[in-house]
């Protein structure tokens, strides 16, 4: 049995890198971590694995060869006028780069899953900037930790222990930290907080505005704002103002509810205001393990973090128009390639309807819901377990993923599959 140390978990945006993976006969037999999601990932990733490329014939997915599947995907992309290339948060930066190159080559639009998670956060950053820090700064210094509209106990299970409230930092012990949770429901995270503030759904912006008013010593005449008594808001404002190093982690509770990017504007401007009083940082709790990497790669290669359109031969970015949900629900695209994501499970009904009504190709290690509906499915190696590559943690620290087992025979990494598609696309285009 082989024990591999310091393995990165290709799970959530925390990208914990201290997992021990036990391998016997090219199989993971045990994983040492205290995260249920990570354990499930390492032990189950190989269950119900599809190892055959599939093509839909007479309404049913039938086995085919890799060559035939690549040919089909290439033709779908070349024949389409405006293909959407979507996904990218559960794979390596190397694959993401190939995706950008492919989108540029076929003159399509490429989007990553940011579009339905922290897209509004990026819009907020583009409005006001982002006073932030690496997670180790929180660990070393933070004495006030606020989780707003996010629930790490369920989604980033080791976040508190490794990076924030429960971590032991150079200048700060767990007992010297205070934790505040602001949410619409009393989440598992809220149960362990020093202070839980229950905000009414869709009223986070109002609460942030009230906090800013308090910091600027303005009177609030109402008894409560956003369902929160004014005394409690005052308590929070005082905690914020008087801490030595505060951090505001926020999640989809802000990006997905009424206000969207305006909620993020509110949060960022609140943190800017707090920096007049003390040191304060803000950070989105990114979901998939390399969604941050997708934003980084897209940005350094095209100038824009997601929703990049190449239909005019150069990168264009128009959220609300080149974003996947808008492209799909308005029926702009006439084909889709999905890599490392499952839009059928994650996008609203009408977007999925259009997605499934046009040629649809999927590259994924598993039969996802999207693969189940696709015209072509190419199975690939599981990045972060069967294939290395680069991924970025939610705070922008890039790390190198480990390959701990070999993929099933004949199964290629998505980077290579995309490269084969790209080559075939260029041949087909050249032949015209």
């Amino acid at each position: 049995m082989k024990v591999i140390n310091a393995v990165l978990c290709p799970g959530c945006g925390s990208l914990c890198d201290d997992n021990e993976v036990y391998v016997e006969d090219n199989k993971i037999v045990k994983v040492r971590t205290d995260c249920a999601i990570s354990t499930s990932k390492f032990l189950n990733f190989n269950k119900d694995r599809n190892t055959t490329p599939l093509i839909r014939v007479d309404g049913e997915l039938k086995p085919t060869t890799l060559e035939a599947a690549i040919e089909r995907v290439a033709r779908i992309l070349v024949e389409a006028e405006y293909p959407l290339i979507y996904g990218w948060s559960l794979t390596s930066c190397e694959a993401q780069k190939k995706g950008v190159e492919l989108a540029e080559e076929v003159g399509g639009v490429i989007d990553n899953t940011t579009t339905v998670c922290h897209g509004p956060s990026i819009l907020g950053v583009q409005d006001f900037g982002e006073p932030t820090c690496s997670l180790g700064e929180v660990r070393a210094r933070a004495d006030l930790i606020i989780y707003w509209g996010c629930n790490p106990s369920s989604a980033h299970t080791r976040h508190m222990k490794r990076y924030s409230s429960l971590s032991k930092g150079r200048f700060r012990l767990p007992e010297q930290r205070k934790v505040v949770v602001v949410d619409v429901r009393k989440t598992p995270t809220a149960r362990n907080a020093n202070l839980f503030i229950q905000v009414k759904p869709n009223q986070d912006y109002e609460l942030m505005a009230a906090l800013k008013m308090m910091l600027q010593n303005e009177e609030i005449e109402e008894q409560e704002v956003a369902g929160v008594p004014v005394e409690q808001i005052e308590e929070l404002a005082e905690l914020m103002r008087s801490c030595e190093f505060g951090v505001l982690f926020f999640g989809l509770g802000l990006t997905m509810s009424e206000g969207k990017e305006r909620n993020i504007d509110g949060a960022i401007t609140l943190v800017r205001e707090l920096n007049r009083w003390t040191k304060f940082a803000i950070m989105p709790m990114r979901g998939h393990y390399n969604v941050t990497g997708a934003n980084k790669v897209f940005t350094w290669q095209t100038g824009y973090p997601y929703a990049v359109d190449f239909s005019r031969g150069y990168p264009r970015y128009e959220p609300g128009d080149t974003t996947a949900v808008d492209v799909l629900s308005r029926g702009y695209n006439d084909a889709t390639l999905v890599v490392a994501s499952d839009p059928v499970a994650n996008l609203p009904k009408d977007a999925v309807k259009h997605l499934c009504s046009k040629p649809l190709a999927v590259i994924d290690p598993h039969i996802s819901l999207t693969a189940f509906m696709a015209d072509v499915v190419i199975p690939c190696a599981f990045v972060g377990i069967e294939e290395g590559g680069t991924a970025y943690r939610m705070d922008g620290v890039g790390m190198i993923l480990k390959k701990v087992v070999e993929p099933p025979e004949g199964i290629l990494p998505d980077t290579q599959i995309l490269d084969l598609i790209l080559k075939r696309v260029r041949e087909l285009k050249g032949g015209r």
Partner: protein, 566 residues
């Protein structure tokens, strides 16, 4: 492939060649004595200016803070884009261009080597990711050390050998090139929301002063025989009156110099050469700084010229960017990095009618003109802090023509003209001066013996400009100069033509240099386990995952350290 560039006027200061008609022969990527004219591709560059490819030692082109600038400024890109064409990938500008465009635009200017001067070690995977993607150019990155916990504590405790061993280990781990120091101690203070106001003020909780950090790192640099001196962004950047801090920083290490070899490179000095006591009384301190540099061979500088227009400031100096934000109240990004450093990004528009900006503009040029030895003052805009690198040709024309400067001066606020020295300076750069300051001297101070010259054996990185140096009078024809330098007639990289009259014709992968340095084995053996132990307490990633293997670099070019100087 063999080439013969015929009939050009060669300016190659490292070989003391000043506008001589000379053919340049190229074979297998190198400059050679001669080639067989019947086999070689002969390119007639009759009467054109032939120089070594440009070498930029300080330009923020890759990594975390650059990408923050790109991400949060879509408005920077909308109007400036490049369509995919042939080997040229598409992309966008302007002050923070996308990565392919960065490489193409430098090549178009005739530059072939560009160094990223600030990488947080923890985020150097990111820096290499971007460097790997830059086409054409040779490059490297400088890890930041001036606020590093290990460094501050080793120096405070007088453990210089241990400090050297730590830095050697880190340099190898992240594949870095030189020791970069930004606002020594000040960024650590900023992580608590504070600043270090004085060169001799203690860093909170670390019991060490900026002076001690800088002195310690100069000594370590020597012990490790790194090819480049320590590369310093001094304290108090952007603060009126800071020229005094600058002089104290330079003078603090004077006694550590041996011979004429520079031991400290002070970067983008324009931002650190301010007189006055506040922004209302801001004046040029360039004359005092230039005077010091003229008298003291242990110093080199680059200017960090300001260009009027819109750009994006970005630096590891987080506290400076916060100050700038409180003045401008626009967008502000801050990105502190555990144990090591920080970063800030703020967009700015430098305006001619703004008194402060006008003074800044004059200071950069004054430094370049008042420092007599072009081997010790280099032309930069601290891209993109002073302005985008694509504006270099404009800076060249200002340096080569008093008339060109006067034209701008005339439009500045009267008080700005009065409180700067530029109007009284007559000096004009020659092509020879320019070639020193942008190629020969920068290659030399970086320790790149194959770059910055056209002698036999040098890398065949060549820039040909369509301008006749014998006929053109830059003093009068400054527009011609600017246009010629904006679009090289031909740029060759490693003996391959990469750009021709503004078109990219090939896009090879450039090298990434790093220094394979080592401290004495017994000291490393003692230090590394200690670092490993503390690593778990300090960082949020595992020690094992900090290491970047050589195979991660698209084209790794390790450099051996120099023999440590006496």
């Amino acid at each position: 492939m063999e080439y013969l560039l015929k009939n050009g006027y060669v300016v190659d200061p490292a070989n003391k060649i000043d506008c001589e008609r000379k053919d340049i022969a190229v074979k297998d990527g190198k400059i050679v004595e001669s080639v067989d004219e019947s086999k070689a591709k002969v390119i007639d560059v009759k009467d054109m200016l032939v120089m070594p490819g440009g070498v930029d030692l300080h330009s923020h082109i890759a990594g975390s803070k650059v990408n923050i600038g790109r991400l949060f400024r879509p408005e920077d890109h909308y109007k400036d884009y490049e369509v995919k064409k042939g080997v040229r990938r598409s992309g966008v500008g302007h002050s923070v261009p996308s990565i392919f465009t960065t490489g193409y635009r430098y090549a178009t200017l005739g530059y072939t080597t560009v160094f990223e001067p600030a990488t947080p070690p923890l985020k150097t995977v990111h820096t290499h990711d971007e460097l790997n993607d830059i086409p054409i150019l040779d490059k490297a990155c400088f890890p930041l050390f001036g606020n590093n916990w290990f460094v501050m504590e080793y120096i405070r405790d007088g453990k210089l050998e241990e400090c050297a061993a730590y830095i050697a280990w880190l340099m190898r781990s992240v594949k870095g090139y030189a020791i970069k120091v930004v606002d020594p101690g000040g960024v650590e203070a900023w992580k608590w929301g504070g600043t270090v106001q004085d060169f001799d003020q203690e860093v909170p909780r670390f019991g060490i002063t900026p002076r001690e950090i800088v002195r310690g790192l100069v000594k370590v640099n020597k012990m490790l025989g790194l090819p480049h001196p320590i590369h310093v962004h001094a304290n108090q950047l952007g603060v009126p009156g800071n020229y005094k801090t600058t002089l104290r920083t330079l003078d603090a290490v004077k006694d550590l110099a041996a011979g004429d070899r520079p031991i400290i490179h002070l970067t983008h000095v324009q931002f650190n050469a301010y007189g006055g006591v506040d922004y209302l009384s801001l004046s040029s301190g360039a004359d005092a700084v230039a005077d010091y540099v003229n008298k003291n061979p242990h110093v080199t500088i680059d200017i960090g010229q300001v260009i009027f227009g819109d750009t994006t400031t970005m630096t590891a100096d987080g506290p400076f960017e916060y100050k700038l934000f409180t003045l401008l109240r626009g967008k502000w990004a801050n990105a502190d990095v555990e144990v090591e450093t920080g970063a800030g990004v703020v967009p700015i528009t430098y305006s001619r009618s703004n008194y402060v900006h006008a003074v800044m503009w004059a200071i950069g040029l004054e430094l370049a003109l008042l420092i007599e030895d072009p081997w010790r003052v280099f032309i930069t805009t601290d891209h993109p802090n002073g302005g985008p690198f694509t504006e270099y040709p404009r800076v060249f024309s200002w340096l080569m023509s008093k008339e060109a400067r006067a034209k701008v001066l005339k439009k500045l606020p009267r008080l700005a003209r009065a409180r700067t020295n530029l109007k009284d300076i007559d000096r004009e750069y020659t092509f020879y001066d320019l070639a020193i300051s942008t190629r020969a001297a920068t290659a030399k101070i970086l320790g790149l013996s194959n770059k910055g010259h056209l002698g036999v054996g040098a890398d065949a990185d060549i820039a040909v400009y369509n301008i006749n140096p014998k006929e053109v009078n830059p003093s009068k024809d400054y527009k011609t100069v600017r246009q010629a330098f904006a679009k090289a007639y031909l740029t060759m990289k490693d003996g391959e033509i990469v750009a021709k009259e503004g078109e990219i014709v090939s896009a090879p992968v450039g090298r990434t240099y790093w220094v394979n340095t080592k401290a004495p084995q017994d000291i490393e053996d003692a230090v590394i386990p200690e670092v490993k132990r503390l690593f778990e307490d300090y960082y949020t990633i595992r020690y094992e995952n900090y290491y970047i293997p050589e195979s991660y670099l698209a084209c790794s070019a390790p450099i051996q350290p120099l023999e440590p100087a006496g």
